[in-house]
Symmetry: C2
Subunit: 320 residues, 2 copies
């Protein structure tokens, strides 16, 4: 089980390496919603997302011999860049396994951090087989995206910092995907402030954790359709789910349209760019998925990696 | 003449009222340019621009009797919202004089801060006549956009904060329009670090201050065509220009295309939104208008108010 000391240790390792991201507020948001919201701007984190915290902490937790042999991750998203940068900072090799049809911009960004990209054909090969084979051949260690205590501990440092800056929060909201961020933040926040209430936020179509909490066991769903590409995981993790069951109040659900209108508000009013997945927590407050009136609400804006062409299309849509 | 004590006094008045905006960096920008750049993110200031500092300091400098009668500004841009918010915070009336064809979004934003908007027909009326008449009738005080020592002192607090955070800057760059920001920052920076070199940055088409420095006197140009709508002033101020001549090294010039590509880079890589005018300082570094190699460069990102429809069009343009 993950405990608070793991998060303190992660924080020590991340000192001077990860950014201590600012906590931002929007007076207009607060006036409109009648509550006080504190946004932890992890979109301003290195690689543009909280994922750097977990990946770096995972590498730091390996013994020098393991680390020297290098690390491997499956991802075409923020976790890929986070693992690649962490490996670069430790001066060890990284292999990132991506589908052949991964967006060129993500391939280029990951390569820019010095990682080797190995492609697999998602119609004829499994990424697990591809990855395991390379790990075996090269003695590399897999860096899982969420289902790992060192990863969760790293992600939890974001809530630790937020509660240091704003100790008297009534609520904490984070996006929920594999639930590494949510689990790490829940452990940190409940330790520092036992009375805090915690929500994860999922897209309506990607409600695997919402279903799992209701069923009392991990529910697997088909790959969901949502613009929140960081939240398309099909089930909460084996290690994360027991923590969610114990510490998290519930999952709130938001639509893609609500994610877009929230991104737009945050861009227009707060002048910062969040990706659709990263806006989930804010969308739940903004679109009143729970009554937060009069409360102090912490929200992790988890990432800001959006392709500018896609962003242009979100901005052009009407009725958002 | 403006002196450093005016800026210290402004800082005291702004304490707890204006945001102390963060200083951001982009490792990628630094690696690409071979210099260390420190961005003072005034796009994250209240009303989304540095203008709030000057307007609030101006209102604070009035005597209570003057202030009670209210203030008036001519502007359809950031100065309008800054003056409206400052008046709201002091609980005094504000009139903003705008052309009848001002963008609806700017009218609404200014009204949202509680100001009264009075329109004039820019083809048959002068805004000065319209404004002076109201000031006379209501006993209101004009809040000038730049040519005023209290305004300059307020704007200078941004450089004061930047140099407190990063004392050993070699260069400081700000956009140049009427030169209130540039003059205030120059006085603050030269006091704290006499060896610092200071540049203002103008669009190529709006090079009134560049021309003025070369001629040794204020040059007036026709209203320039540029996407940097905050930098369309036609001449440096009577009070600002002597300060620019004394303390500023030179003006650097950038094209609209360079402003757009810089906005895009800052949005994509640094995850923050700057308006075209606000990106001028960064554009001069990014497009190498001077050899900053190996140097520590402070850049004021002066504002972030962009209409999202316009932003979508900037993002869709190719070749930027």
């Amino acid at each position: 089980m993950l405990n608070f000391n793991d998060i303190l240790q992660a924080r020590e390792r991340l000192q001077g390496v990860a950014h201590r991201t600012p906590v931002l507020a929007s007076k207009q948001f607060n006036e409109q919603e009648g509550c006080e919201v504190f946004f932890k701007a992890e979109n301003l984190q290195r690689v543009g997302a909280f994922k750097f915290r977990g990946a770096y902490n995972k590498l730091a937790s390996l013994n020098p011999e393991e680390r020297k042999r290098g690390v491997l991750a499956y991802s075409s998203g923020n976790h890929a860049q986070a693992t690649a940068l962490a490996a670069k900072l430790f001066g060890v090799p990284a292999v990132i396994v991506m589908p052949e049809d991964a967006p060129q911009i993500k391939v280029a960004a990951t390569r820019a951090y010095g990682a080797e990209i190995i492609f697999y054909d998602r119609y004829s090969q499994s990424r697990e087989d591809t990855g395991e084979k390379i790990c075996r051949e090269r003695g590399m260690t897999l860096v899982p995206p969420f289902d790992d205590y060192a990863i969760m501990a790293g992600q939890g440092t974001s809530a630790l910092e937020l509660l240091e800056d704003v100790p008297e929060l009534d609520f904490l909201l984070t996006p929920a995907s594999g639930c590494g961020l949510l689990a790490g933040c829940a452990v940190a926040a409940k330790h520092l402030r036992p009375q805090i209430r915690i929500f994860g936020v999922e897209p309506e179509t990607a409600n695997d954790t919402w279903q799992s909490l209701r069923k009392g066991e991990r529910v697997e769903i088909p790959v969901p359709k949502t613009i929140a590409d960081g939240l398309q995981v099909t089930a909460p993790g084996k290690l994360t789910f027991p923590i969610i069951r114990e510490l998290v109040d519930d999952i709130l659900l938001v639509s893609d349209q609500e994610l877009i209108s929230t991104m737009r508000f945050i861009l227009e009013r707060m002048k910062i760019l969040v990706e659709p997945s990263g806006a989930a927590g804010a969308a739940a407050v903004f679109h009143r998925k729970f009554d937060f009136a009069g409360k102090r609400v912490g929200v992790v804006l988890s990432g800001g990696n959006v392709d500018l062409t896609k962003l242009a299309s979100y901005l052009s849509e009407t009725g958002a």
